[in-house]
Symmetry: C2
Subunit: 345 residues, 2 copies
DNA sequence: TTGTATGCGTTATCAG
DNA sequence: CTGATAACGCATACAA
């Protein structure tokens, strides 16, 4: 924190006035002589005075700091959401204390405790892939610190949540695959108890059902964490017959691994197998054929979650809200009907 | 900050002892009756006591918070560096207050002021592409708040810096292009006054010189910011003859744009034009042909910068250090000699 | 071993 | 319009 900080006291002493007058002048409150005010501001400037927010916080019982916990910062989705959160928070005068759980529920709960001790005004959190219950959140309730869950949520009542209707996204994707002629659609999913994994597989199953496609357990695989080599599941999928004619994956990395693998094996995408990913990572536009995928409204997620939290911070009695946003399918070459049709002619 | 927080006072009152005893017991200081200590801890547990770091900070003149300013969070390089910084900081008991300047020097200097007011113990910063001087850093010197520049630096004396020897990286890349037969190597660079842009173009020029290749101004282009469509410069490059036979770009996005463009035009990569990018973004492995690029040691950058800062925070008299790390060329297909040679046979 | 008093930098509540 | 004083939650020198 540096050595000697100029304080209101210093200004008061130099000007031979009281600290309360200085404090008022600095904050441009009414009832203070314009000349005094001018002197104070000049002296503050001269002494490089900067208000001490720590001291302010102690009095206001408010730090203007929002804690954020994401599973990992270096992910295209979370880093985009963080960007939006940062800009929204700063627009309202809040700083962000950013933490990552590294996909560990132990670290996550430790981080929550630390942030509570740092007296954050509120918390934005997307849970780790290990997190199974809301135990770690109890302390937030006890201390009445508002929090908003986003993207990866838990079924907690009475808490604001911002999610994407992933069920609908996936349903639409599977429907699209069906329309272009796929009948045996595989799914490579994410860690099983994660909300987003569940929503996605449910959308997948519902669509299969609706469009009279057979549900074949051999076509449904899961990774246990996002660090796993996606190729493993891809290879497993194609180690047994009959092959799928469509694949929907939990993320674009897995989809790209599938496309690359199929290219290498001489299986044509999309003519023989169509592929759809999730997240609209930069790689989706680069892979050949370009990858049809689902784009999450990262900007909206971050902005809305932050806005909801700030609203709750400013009026603690406001009721929790659940906002469900919509993802967009980005249609690209990995699921093109024209080519599929032509291959049958 | 919630409604009523349990404080040491509450514990003291309940136990009919003084706050100082409670304070000591809580921190496990010596000279406190084991039984008293036990009682205090039990009562603390019972009342859900959590220490108030804000109050502690006011006394200790230390917040255990490190500020970080990056141009943007949602970049593969910066988000990876942030990840390393987070884990290193937390290992030492520090929290990270993460900010992005959005590549604006105005926002950057505003953020610095805010972080100073929040009484951060130190700052980690990579400057915006607009930042031309160290004016905004003056306040840090005045307040004696240590800071470390990383990746994108400014020529400030007496300050710790962590950089990559980009000159060397680029020199090696150009040398490699020369070795596989390139003679007219183009460079699409970044914002001109950014340290990394300068270092890279200097490495490019030095290598051209060393290996007796002609320096042709028409082959040297710049983007003014990273949001620009990289294709514009690519097209400009190929709108004039003679074409280059090698391209080195400021980042992988530009390199991929070039490869895609050349593919579309029927120009073979690497047979007719070799391409090398920078950053080793995920897209580099996905594009066809896969992209030779330079990988920055993001993990090291983040870890070392944070370690340096913490060292300085803990012993303010320790001298500033400049650490230069090395990048690695990742050789991939976009610059393969074998193919080039065979095309001449 | 424990308690008292004071201070960290600021704001709020009075009284003047 | 201004000033003295207490308070925020905790730590620490000093006294007991």
């Amino acid at each position: 924190m540096g050595k000697h900080q100029t304080t209101v006291k210093d200004i008061a002493r130099k000007l031979h006035i009281s600290v309360s007058t200085v404090s008022r002048a600095l904050r441009n409150l009414p009832d203070v002589n314009p000349e005094t005010k001018k002197n104070v501001h000049e002296m503050a400037e001269k002494l490089n005075y900067e208000p001490n927010y720590i001291a302010k916080s102690l009095i206001n019982k408010r730090t203007n700091v929002i804690g954020v916990i994401v599973p990992l910062i270096a992910s295209s989705v979370f880093s985009r959401i963080l960007t939006a959160m940062h800009n929204t928070a700063h627009r309202h005068g809040f700083q962000l204390m950013v933490c990552q759980s590294n996909e560990s529920s132990t670290q996550e709960s430790e981080l929550i405790k630390q942030l509570v001790s740092f007296k954050i005004d509120g918390l934005l959190i997307s849970v780790s892939s290990e997190t199974k219950n809301d135990e770690a959140f109890e302390i937030l309730n006890k201390k009445e610190i508002p929090y908003v869950l986003f993207d990866r949520i838990l079924p907690i009542n009475n808490v604001s949540k911002v999610t994407v209707d992933e069920f609908q996204c996936v349903f639409t994707a599977i429907k699209h695959l069906n329309e272009i002629g796929c009948r045996r659609i595989a799914h490579i999913g994410g860690p099983p108890h994660l909300s987003i994994s569940k929503d996605r597989i449910n959308g997948y199953l519902a669509a299969l059902n609706k469009y009279n496609m057979e549900i074949d357990d051999r076509l449904i695989l899961h990774c246990n964490n996002f660090d796993e080599d996606p190729l493993v599941n891809v290879i497993k999928l194609f180690s047994q017959k009959p092959y799928p004619d469509g694949i929907f994956t939990i993320n674009d990395y897995t989809a790209v691994a599938a496309i690359k693998y199929l290219n290498k094996c001489g299986v044509r995408v999309p003519e023989e197998v169509s592929v759809i990913g999730f997240n609209n990572d930069p790689i989706a536009e680069v892979v050949e054929p370009t990858l049809t995928t689902i784009k999450l409204p990262c900007d909206e997620i971050g902005t809305i979650a932050t806005d909801l939290l700030i609203k709750k911070i400013n009026s603690p009695s406001s009721p929790p809200q659940s906002v469900t946003l919509h993802g967009d399918i980005i249609y690209r070459s990995s699921s093109e009907k024209a080519q599929l049709t032509s291959s049958f002619m």
